[in-house]
Symmetry: C2
Subunit: 116 residues, 2 copies
């Protein structure tokens, strides 16, 4: 089978911007402000000149109860984000420096990894 090409984007971030009707039992990321947070992330990444990172909107990522959520590939690390300060920390710690923001990371069981 052909060898996989090098990654086209060093990091590829998908922010859920799915919107459900108000009052839906699962909620939705857009109802939690994800569009504004995505715009802030895009804008700050551009201002900082972060290279090799693509930030995209995505449809429902099916972790709505924890939203707004985003996932960073290729590592497949998920975050729940609620404020511009959360975005700043992920941007600086993960997207620029390659670290992780433990307090915002989601574990496999739909629960935060750390609740510090």
């Amino acid at each position: 089978m052909p060898q996989d090409p090098p990654l086209y984007f060093r990091l590829h971030v998908f922010v859920c911007t799915n919107r459900r009707p108000d009052g839906h039992r699962r909620g939705s990321c857009a109802a939690g402000g994800s569009e504004r947070l995505r715009d802030y992330l895009k804008s700050r990444a551009r201002e900082l000149g972060v290279e090799g990172v693509r930030i995209n909107s995505a449809g429902c990522l099916d972790r709505c109860e924890l939203g707004p959520v985003m996932v960073v590939y290729p590592e497949g690390v998920w975050y729940a984000v609620h404020t511009p300060a959360d975005i700043d920390e992920i941007l600086e710690t993960h997207l620029v420096k390659g670290g992780r923001v433990g307090r915002l990371m989601l574990g496999p069981g739909d629960q935060p990894v750390l609740t510090a």
Copy 2:
């Protein structure tokens, strides 16, 4: 730094469904029929009972000239898809069996890897 949790989805597929106005010089994946191809992929994956695979829509993935395009993570393999037969082949060969469909894969230079 905290260890990365196991992947939440074994394979996470993002199909670009961005739409630009007709006549835009870069074209767009939706203008090339990506929404219909995404629907077909979702429907066939469900019918086949493929496990651990999430199929999402995404905003502009910035490889418009080759679209409709999709990317499969965590491996970061990109495909250009034009027909339901293309979707069937990616579904069976890559998403089920873990192989690659060389004739549809995109290389790093915005060109198909193989043009067989």
